[in-house]
């Protein structure tokens, strides 16, 4: 069980448990605010006052991030002998049409996340643009999947519902309208 992928009904409640522990420790469950902390550490406060923050108050959150990195390392290297993700056959077919031949055989598509493809400028542009959109979007929206979809909606915050609908509108546009233009040949 530990070595296979976990079903949704185990994973979902465990993610809620993470939020519960953090709330009971007097903190919040939100991952994207760390991006701003990295800006502050990098000296962004010299350009904009917005990034002048008390770094000490963010220490706990950076520890959670460090933990997530370690957790990913442990799970990938010691508890996942076969990390291939068993997505549905229909999805595999769609991805193969787009040129993703690693669909169904890997954890991440090697066409985007193998070190070798970093030799192509297109990979850099796609990954960088994807990151920019996530970073800009999440700060503009004031939260990401953890802060809005889990924390915000759990607390019945209407703004979080607008944000989550936005997440899906953006995701659907990307996958259905833009992917064929970006990856289709």
């Amino acid at each position: 069980m530990l070595y296979q992928s976990w079903p949704w009904y185990v994973s979902g409640p465990l993610i809620a448990l993470v939020m519960a522990i953090l709330v009971l420790m007097g903190k919040r469950f939100g991952m994207s605010s760390n991006l701003e902390t990295f800006c502050s550490i990098g000296g962004a406060g010299k350009f904009v006052d917005y990034f002048k923050i008390d770094l000490k108050s963010k220490r706990w959150s950076l520890l959670v991030v460090l933990g997530a990195v370690i957790g990913g390392y442990l799970a990938a290297n010691f508890f996942s002998p076969d990390p291939a993700v068993e997505i549905s056959q229909a999805t595999v077919n769609k991805l193969q049409e787009l040129g993703f031949n690693s669909a169904g055989q890997a954890y991440l598509p090697t066409e985007l996340f193998d070190v070798a493809v970093l030799s192509q400028p297109k990979t850099w542009i796609l990954l960088l643009v994807a990151g920019l959109l996530v970073g800009f979007g999440t700060r503009y929206a004031g939260g990401c999947t953890s802060g809005h979809a889990i924390s915000g909606l759990s607390n019945l915050q209407f703004p979080s519902l607008i944000a989550v609908i936005g997440f899906f509108v953006g995701g659907l546009i990307m996958v259905h309208l833009l992917f064929p233009l970006i990856f289709g040949s």
């Binding site: 442990l74 954890y107 929206a141 759990s154 995701g171």
Partner: protein, 137 residues
């Protein structure tokens, strides 16, 4: 001691995200194709348990483990920032196949190119800070 607790919560979180495959680009793509219940199940069940937990905290006026008052995040009222910010986030989420939490997890799992995404995300957050005063909120 508390520091260690935060670190362990993070390790647990990272472990769950990897094993649940919520950190897999393929699962995100599959979700936006509506071809599997997996991601909806994860978010739905997390939300259900989360709601019950938050209601319990509110009803019992639970104090934190350290005796402080628990303050639950209230999101300020607005439409435009959530709609535009959320949509931009969604575009990036689907392309990168990862939101901020999984990015850290994937970096730990050894996927070097995710560092380019992470760099972009930090730059994006910086860009937001620069333009913040000019954007409609």
């Amino acid at each position: 001691m508390r520091s260690l607790a935060y670190l362990f919560v993070g390790i647990f979180f990272g472990f769950v995200l990897f094993k649940s495959e919520a950190a897999s680009w393929f699962r995100i793509y599959e979700m936006f194709q509506f071809q599997s219940f997996h991601m909806y199940g994860i978010m739905g069940s997390a939300l259900l348990v989360g709601m019950v937990f938050v209601q319990w905290v509110k009803k019992t006026k639970r104090k934190s483990l350290f005796g402080e008052k628990i303050i639950l995040d209230k999101k300020e009222r607005s439409f435009v920032r959530y709609a535009i910010g959320g949509t931009l986030f969604g575009l990036g989420w689907a392309l990168a196949g990862a939101c901020p939490g999984p990015m850290y997890v994937l970096a730990g799992a050894g996927f070097v190119p995710i560092l380019v995404v992470l760099l972009g995300a930090v730059l994006g957050a910086f860009l937001y800070g620069l333009l913040r005063s000019k954007l409609p909120h």
